[in-house]
Symmetry: C2
């Protein structure tokens, strides 16, 4: 079970009624924040979530609307007397940019651990959470920029019949379920595949802002339960501007959602000039029906499907 | 006539219902912003004022809650294709801090002119506005910090009787009113004091955050029409904390307002823990009656008194 909150839905500049785009992901007491533009700590507080459990902040890129809220967020964490290390992950330049911004947040009571991407695709491992995989993948913006793919895997069912037939002692069952291989005192070896069914469908969502459409986005988002994607422009005649600025229209996002056969798409990262995103939803839905023009604070709890 | 807007009233961290403290001053098409914490551009937009006419940003000091909104504000000015130079004034270190923050706002279409204070009191001159004087003065915080005193002076009345008695040609009158000394063709010299009455009462307001009470604050605020002063803590038992953190309680601010005999005081820069500043107003007013627990967006137009 994963809680998601799209804290804001704005691009370029924060507005009184629209915070800058960032995503908070909560799973198993662990929180990940993706991007931290000006006002993100206000958006977080508005939805009633705390910054204290944030273990990792992932950045798509370092344009100000994606990182300008960082110094304030760090200070707020520091004022709450955080001691735990904070992981930061992002494209090359991360440590340099963060250190430069920290001119106004120089003293923090917790360490920062930097993870800078060195290839087009990187898996981020999270301590103690082997079933939750975060993959950063390069997208196509006017500076180095990454999207994020989140996958929570789910083991198969435990097959009691097999376990009994193989006469596996009951005290081994949960260890086998946890992936352990066990050698019994009589010399027999028990492996998880003897008792575990095929892996079941997990949870999968993909987050992309600040990019032109790319095949890699479609590939990563394939079959996602949720695809959160930028829709900088709703007006169809802004396609040329989208191309120049390396952003996307609603229709381009919808086209990717359709190709990737995602279950649902939330649009975000609207241009400040786009007052009413829903006005363009009718035409977007002609391309991909399950499109939502997300508003600030939109939340969902993603759960494993019934099987 | 000067328009003032206290854009926000928060200290330390911005809250969804309380922006960080900053002040916008508008006079004669010229705007001055004092401090620019995270969210200031949102606060400005909320009250419907534009950042484009800001000619000068003055900083009290460089704690994050007073400057973290700067990169975003600069980008917004840049996106509006500003070309005019932007003056920045503040304590030593200004250029270093701003350049460091500009890691995420490196390219701007307008120049920045820095004015770093080198003494305990500095007058800021504004091109074409000799009657409007801004004075930065050192206060007492845990880092170098300045308050700001604003004075708009008002000339005396033109004395038509004197001008006629001295047989000053009419075409010299407005030049004398503008301070010019004129030598007439007959050799006589006319000086402004021949026709101008005594200077009349102007407009005066003082802005102070992040300080312990000081004599210099009282001296600068003397007789001010408005004294905007930090009230970090309303709870009387937080006096010790105020001393440690180099802030003020409501009562200390009121005591200074009383000593300075100001006309009105607005409290601001509340601790995030102070949910309802007005709860402490009753006791504060016992010290200084015309105290207002300001809320975000509080505006006033200060005018010359009737004489």
């Amino acid at each position: 079970m994963i809680d998601l909150c799209l804290l804001g839905t704005g691009g370029m500049m924060p507005l009184p009624y629209r915070y800058l785009t960032s995503l908070m992901v909560r799973y198993n007491g662990y929180s990940i924040l993706v991007d931290c533009g000006e006002g993100t700590q206000m958006a977080l507080r508005k939805v009633g979530w705390s910054p204290n459990p944030i273990s990792m902040i992932c950045f798509t890129h370092y344009h100000a609307d994606h990182i300008s809220g960082l110094p304030g967020m760090l200070l707020t964490m520091g004022n709450a007397e955080r001691k735990e290390p904070l992981i930061m992950a992002g494209p090359k330049g991360l440590e340099r940019v963060v250190n430069s911004l920290r001119v106004i947040a120089p003293e923090l009571p917790f360490p920062i651990v930097y993870h800078e991407f060195s290839s087009a695709e990187e898996k981020l491992t999270l301590d103690g959470m082997p079933d939750f995989e975060v993959t950063a993948f390069k997208v196509n913006h006017n500076v180095m920029c990454y999207g994020y793919d989140f996958r929570l895997s789910r083991k198969g069912r435990f097959n009691v019949e097999n376990a009994n037939a193989l006469e596996i002692p009951r005290n081994y069952w949960s260890r086998l379920q946890n992936g352990e291989t066990i050698t019994h005192e009589d010399g027999r070896t028990f492996t998880p595949d003897m008792v575990m069914g095929q892996a079941r469908t997990g949870i999968h969502f993909t987050y992309v802002t600040d990019s032109r459409p790319t095949d890699s986005i479609v590939r990563h988002a394939e079959d996602a339960d949720l695809f959160i994607c930028e829709g900088m422009y709703g007006e169809p005649d802004k396609i040329q501007k989208a191309r120049e600025k390396k952003h996307m229209t609603f229709y381009e996002a919808a086209d990717m959602a359709k190709k990737a056969e995602v279950k649902e798409m939330w649009l975000t990262h609207y241009s400040p000039s786009l007052n009413s995103p829903k006005d363009y939803l009718h035409d977007t839905k002609k391309i991909f029906k399950n499109t939502i023009a997300a508003k600030d604070g939109r939340m969902v709890t993603l759960t494993f499907p019934e099987e």
